[in-house]
Subunit: 297 residues, 2 copies
């Protein structure tokens, strides 16, 4: 068998629950938001473009410094030099720890205050998920990002789900500055609120997740420079001519359509599911994206 049914949107026998694809398709135009070019990065690899939405609400100092590095073309001709199976892909200057070989960071700062979590307030949207979480007392989505909250301390942080982009650092909590980034390709919730999250991959995850793995004994860092994936360039979308932009939209996570998707994911009335999960974990839901229909062709 082809096993296509493993995820196919087979309709319910009698219950007539629409498939997730059809729920997304029925979303109103106002339920989609376009990525802000001033907070979107394009990382061009030999096989394609990775699009990252930045998270200035959560880590303003890190995002500002990262933009400085990008605008000064720090990442051009660096590489993805670490891919640890079921954990992260990491990129930047592989020689950044070697003062003799490290690239100049130009006008960017070398140390930043830790921005691992922040206080939350009424200005932030938050769509809670109903099934709890192993690592936090509340989880849900804020402005498209998977987030966790602690009502006791009124702190919030972005969870390390698939596609989350964080700022690597050394043991010194101020040593992260954005010159070394990682994207989550596996299980990484254990590092929640211990690193600054800078954004989230919106498009192009397979360009990172399907890279060859480095040796686990060396936490995924490639043994040979020839194994690295070159980074051609990283640019802020706002600095790229409109004709060369991606024009991506993300479904608003405070929209009725998003709530319908959460419900459908939890209760799967598809005929394939004999015994629907009835629950949904924070990282078990990917926020839908699309090309802005005004630019689709």
């Amino acid at each position: 068998m082809l096993g296509l049914s493993l995820t196919a949107g087979v309709h319910a026998d009698g219950k007539d629950t629409p498939s997730i694809a059809s729920i997304v398709k029925a979303a109103k135009p106002s339920e989609w938001r376009s990525l802000d070019p001033a907070n979107t990065l394009y990382m061009d690899l030999p096989d394609g473009r990775v699009v990252i939405e930045l998270a200035p609400w959560w880590s303003p100092a890190h995002v500002a410094n990262l933009k400085t590095l990008v605008r000064e073309h720090y990442f051009d001709r660096t590489s993805v030099y670490r891919v640890q199976d079921n954990f992260v892909a990491q990129w930047g200057d592989p020689d950044s720890d070697n003062p003799k070989k490290a690239k100049s960071m130009g006008t960017a700062k070398t140390h930043l205050p830790p921005e691992y979590d922040r206080a939350y307030d009424a200005s932030m949207t938050f769509t809670p998920l109903p099934d709890g979480d192993v690592y936090a007392s509340q989880v849900g989505f804020s402005h498209g990002f998977p987030t966790a909250r602690d009502p006791k301390t009124h702190r919030t942080w972005i969870a390390h789900c698939y596609g989350t982009v964080g700022v690597a650092r050394d043991v010194d909590p101020t040593s992260g500055n954005g010159n070394t980034l990682y994207a989550v390709i596996g299980e990484a919730r254990r590092i929640d609120h211990n690193l600054a999250v800078a954004g989230r991959v919106i498009q192009g995850m397979p360009l990172l997740s399907s890279l060859p793995r480095g040796d686990d004994a060396n936490i995924g860092v490639y043994a040979k420079p020839s194994q690295r994936t070159p980074i051609l360039r990283v640019r802020l979308a706002a600095d790229v001519p409109v004709a060369q932009r991606e024009h991506l939209q993300v479904l608003r996570t405070d929209s009725p359509t998003f709530a319908r998707i959460v419900d459908a994911k939890r209760h799967r009335h598809d005929a394939f599911y004999r015994d629907p999960p009835g629950h949904l974990s924070l990282c078990g839901l990917e926020v839908p994206t699309r090309v802005d229909p005004a630019f689709a062709h």
Copy 2:
């Protein structure tokens, strides 16, 4: 920076908590068990070998039928033909749905009773995890497998964590027979107790997880046959000469060392962790494996 500290076992400042690697290293010989050759599969791909431990306790009919298929060389010259990002890699005969082109299943059965969960009893070891779960009321490890339990119904099932190998099927719950298998490479808890789990990848996950992804719109099935990864052969370890076996051992999940690993993963006293997770999810822990020292060289 190299960002090695992201997972490095930096020792505690004052608390002297050993790293996970050193905890594993200190395990007694009796805390390791060797894989049973009668329940271990070797899947040989062009780039290396994937080792799968079978789970006859959980799905005896599926495992028996899978062994029949393997012993009759059903999988030789089939392929990995579906890789859906953040979900599964799937293999077998890509033409199995086409009666004119499908490979013969020989003496194997074409339909099997669903074995999606089973009753648990005192014969099964179970090491519970203390931090709960989004999808089940109890989770832990049984005989090396990540499992969930429902004390109300006394049913247990293997969870779809990274590396879990399941039996694909069509909508008909009896249509899975083991001729099409998948390994979890991402988030897949949502299909728990809706498919029969046949085993777990013990070694070689990167050979599957780093394969190019198929198009999500086609649930990861490659558009062109040339994209498939050929399967050279699949053999039961017991049918392979001893000199060509892998001699792998898995840490017993009911051992004191395993309990120490769970504790270390939850409380990470490494200097890197400013704010340790304090919790551990079922799929957040990979069971340690090693080459039997009697065969290491």
